[in-house]
Symmetry: D2
Subunit: 370 residues, 4 copies
Amino acid sequence: MTSRTIQVDVIRIPTKGPGDVSGLLGLIAGGKIEPSSIRAVLGKTEGNGGVNDFTREYALAALCEALAPHLRLTPRAVEDKIAFVMSGGTEGVLSPHLTVFARSTAPSAAPNGSGERKRLSIGIAHTRDFLPEEIGRKAQMDETIKAVHAAMADAGIDNPRDVHFVQIKCPLLTSERVEAALHRGCTTVTTNGYSSMGYSRGASALGVAMALGELKTEVREDQVLKDWDLFSSVASSSAGIEIMHNVVIVMGNSPTSLSPFVIGHAVMRDSIDLAAVVEALSSVGLSAADAQNGRLVNIFAKAEASPDGCVRGFRHTMLDDSDVGSTRHARAAVGGLVAGLSGTGAVYVSGGAEHQGPPGGGPVAVIARV
Amino acid sequence: MTSRTIQVDVIRIPTKGPGDVSGLLGLIAGGKIEPSSIRAVLGKTEGNGGVNDFTREYALAALCEALAPHLRLTPRAVEDKIAFVMSGGTEGVLSPHLTVFARSTAPSAAPNGSGERKRLSIGIAHTRDFLPEEIGRKAQMDETIKAVHAAMADAGIDNPRDVHFVQIKCPLLTSERVEAALHRGCTTVTTNGYSSMGYSRGASALGVAMALGELKTEVREDQVLKDWDLFSSVASSSAGIEIMHNVVIVMGNSPTSLSPFVIGHAVMRDSIDLAAVVEALSSVGLSAADAQNGRLVNIFAKAEASPDGCVRGFRHTMLDDSDVGSTRHARAAVGGLVAGLSGTGAVYVSGGAEHQGPPGGGPVAVIARV
Amino acid sequence: MTSRTIQVDVIRIPTKGPGDVSGLLGLIAGGKIEPSSIRAVLGKTEGNGGVNDFTREYALAALCEALAPHLRLTPRAVEDKIAFVMSGGTEGVLSPHLTVFARSTAPSAAPNGSGERKRLSIGIAHTRDFLPEEIGRKAQMDETIKAVHAAMADAGIDNPRDVHFVQIKCPLLTSERVEAALHRGCTTVTTNGYSSMGYSRGASALGVAMALGELKTEVREDQVLKDWDLFSSVASSSAGIEIMHNVVIVMGNSPTSLSPFVIGHAVMRDSIDLAAVVEALSSVGLSAADAQNGRLVNIFAKAEASPDGCVRGFRHTMLDDSDVGSTRHARAAVGGLVAGLSGTGAVYVSGGAEHQGPPGGGPVAVIARV
Amino acid sequence: MTSRTIQVDVIRIPTKGPGDVSGLLGLIAGGKIEPSSIRAVLGKTEGNGGVNDFTREYALAALCEALAPHLRLTPRAVEDKIAFVMSGGTEGVLSPHLTVFARSTAPSAAPNGSGERKRLSIGIAHTRDFLPEEIGRKAQMDETIKAVHAAMADAGIDNPRDVHFVQIKCPLLTSERVEAALHRGCTTVTTNGYSSMGYSRGASALGVAMALGELKTEVREDQVLKDWDLFSSVASSSAGIEIMHNVVIVMGNSPTSLSPFVIGHAVMRDSIDLAAVVEALSSVGLSAADAQNGRLVNIFAKAEASPDGCVRGFRHTMLDDSDVGSTRHARAAVGGLVAGLSGTGAVYVSGGAEHQGPPGGGPVAVIARV
């Protein structure tokens, strides 16, 4: 018996561009989404997913402007209230879209109708703002641990095994931020903006792994982007230019949730691990064939170029391509596989899986209607 | 009964770079490949697959230089003797490699030991050189028809239904070639080099479709890149800067072949058509699970961004990306799916499927050991 | 004697990103810019300048949001009131910035203190929205002619020789717009988004040339992007995804202007025409050495890859690069030259000079403080 | 009085592609170049100049193949005999070309007819092959110092002040090389291929600076790519995938040279330093106007994105562009300026000027006919 129940709704909305909020506003106007219940929005936008991908902050600005009058808040306050994670890069068949998570809580404890079955819940927390020199280092890991625990509590999840996906939005370094640190006499973990995205994603993922007890010992700062044996099986982090703190979104199944959805996950051991995607689908009762019958809500996967330059013994060229960043390559490839199995390109495949799953692989989570 | 028998061997060789011929030379030195029996080499090289992809001509030059002493020919004569098709672009998990087709013919007619079963054969033909203004137009289609018929005869294949893959290498326009045409008072089908690749591939594929009786009526010049209902289910064309003629390689099953391989194909109706890839594998007795047990030799697939901007109702962004060409996107995505099903990135996925399969889709052929 | 006088102010404002309006708001707060007098904003934003360059519409949205409360208008109404031209692409040394043109009119006719000397004025007009199939064709040219004349009248300029720069913002085609036309049974001038930018810019520039009497005869639709001998010496057009009409901004010297600025121009005959840039500087009394003493306000130049593939007899590779669009190359190169002569990268160099100056060249205009 | 005299010839040859050796072979056939006298070839090829720029090794292979029969050597031996430096990247107006340096020595000491005037000479040396983990570190610096001194002696130059350009070709790291080091228990200076190019160029340039006495103290390994106050005013290094050692080419004026050419240089303090290019032209008696009258042989300049993110106080975006590498941006911009001043795009502008000139700037050298 529990003192509150949680109702969660998840809706996938295609977009026509990074500034397109018409789909969301239509659902609000049609009464399908209650604006005040929106807790998180995960989006795929059509930028390059790199340092100068302004589609993320553009989408964020457009969403905050659009929701502000509905929430009677300033756009800036909307950004503080709702966890927005815009992941740039819709390479290949990937299709720009938003996934809106709405949640409401009721004080009375009605049974969720599923007996013992736990249902999808979601919880959110933020870290404090980081200084440029803290990105990719211990401070970012430590603050992430605290935020994951806060988000689990928020979701009504006690058992780390019920956590199936932890999405983090984390900051990156720009030339300006590197300079700012230098002027204060501090050096950043790297001076290269593109590289900094990896450090920030990696440190955040290791924070998740420690928070969930996935690692037996504490991670040292110098193991970030070095010791690839350390990873989380459920962390997914995206770096973006628009923030200086981490946003943590925990997704899992909770006994207090009344939602009609469940979530499960598996771990891709490499970029072509079809079996893992099938396993993730199975974990929520879907097969590749079922996937198109409407029960699938969305798939969330991380993609990265295997750091050893090979996939099952065959050389890949993603890391040596000076024209197209390796994250773009990896999203396109994993997106092709996941879309093939799910029958749609409107899936959330995000690049840069440092310490998110084993090297070259990554977590894959599926939300399905029960 | 037939007056000759054909022996075909197919070997896949990973490469370390576009100029790497060490794997091929090793197999020759080890007696695994008889140089004089090599009829065709299909390669994936790590360029951008676009106009300025010099990895194709570099690989070609390296192969010709390497084989010349073994064949007692000049490099230039090697290029005339063997059909080389270098397809640029190993995006995502795709892995650079060569597929070498060797063939020998015996005058006596021993049964192939398979009873009625037809086995893999290969035949080759060339068109004449085209003028820049002929590319993408009727002359290119007409000459391709003739060359397909010549290549079928060369392969010992009478029935067009036994043809499962027709690989064509075709020319493209450069600024210089467009200028040359203009100086002679002629205009080319387009002045844009990247666009010309599409016209050349499209006209070549329509030539294949007509040659194999896939279309009921003759194709008009103005239907190229316009009437997307017209297509071949087995054509695969790649445009390259290094030639001005079409090279046609017919692959199919022939009653006169004694080879230990068979080929089959299916047609992907879009970029995420997992079922078609499974069907192609099945057609030669493989399942996704079998694929890794050594019977799979290679998969040959074409990829393209759906020209209507959508895949199963969801918008893709491949055609509007001014940073990364749509062929790169499409190869990466289809490569991810095909590699997932076959368990390896060393597959031949080639971009630009104009009139090769339905719009947004493309042929997929599989060669397997019996 | 004239029935009104015009006061024009021009201010260059560096930006920290496409969404950065802090510089503009600071000048408004400091009383340096009266919001209601702003007539036009020309910006350079850090996108790729191609089809999927969303930095332009993001900058536009941010500017409209920022100015809306100051003008007591909705953001949408701000966009209608002020002529915004965001030109994407700050390759090489080019630096993102805004140039704000403010204008006020007084009914009384005080002499401008310069005797006979004409001073900088600016006038603005819009065309109607175009259908996708009208872009790059006669309708776009004809409507542009009308709009240029309207903008000259608005600027108080009678003599076409006093017009030194005509900036046009024009639409482009996306996959969606091409499809929309097809559904209505109409075909667009091209189905390729990137190519459509050239058609739109070219037709707009030819409209300017006809409006100013630079061409003796009317231009036929089929001469667009074909007959490169036809061009305007003062037109500058930028294509952007965010509009479906043309915005026309005429800059010139007017006897009715009291502004402390003058404008002049020259025509670069190719991308390395240093002499033309020097001439443009001279036309307003500046030398390369003077340029840094504060009198220079901004330089406005168009850049393009010479369509014949050569610059002064030496081959360039811009048109054959499938990784980086030719407009990016051209902006970077011309930006390097113009920045070298003006001592700053915060200059307005815009790509795609079809029919804007001779093939491979383009107009270059300079605004200087008297 | 001297015991030998040196005759040097310098010829610039446009190319039609990275594999084009027709111009060189034509000059050999026409008796303009004696193959056995060729000591060095500096080329600009049309690749991306990055890790996967295979145009450099393709050009190298083509040149070695072409020269082999003329020198009665194997292609491999040609590569050892002649110093080839292929610099990838002809962005903007830059035009692919080769500069061939031929040299012959005579034992008798005829005066060079110029009285006191020193004339162009050239000297060459190689380091040993480096291990992957030595790249960008002390070993690379130390070996470079030795090689510079050897090359000066080879050129007949005693005084470091007579050295005006030191071109170095140096190796880079690939995924494979990084892995190889790891397997031996060694870590490389970076695991990122693109980044490794900067380390290799930087360490090589610092080796030159120490060899020529430009720095007062020895450089520590941890100052590479850190302490930007340390630089050479004449070093120019290019990283390429095709070698594992450094090739050092010293160009300067020697009293023992009888050549009809002189060389001079200046240092660009930033990417828009027009005055420095003018100074370099002046140092050999050329003005911007003269440059086109045939006396200019070639200009050699280094370009880089200023590491502080600014050029003369205005933000540039080169370092934050995840689509186009900063070296491509910088070459395009500096190439535009240098081409504008010299009247041709067939100039040698090479990217990545780490420790080659001050941060954001670089050396610029000019060879002119007397």
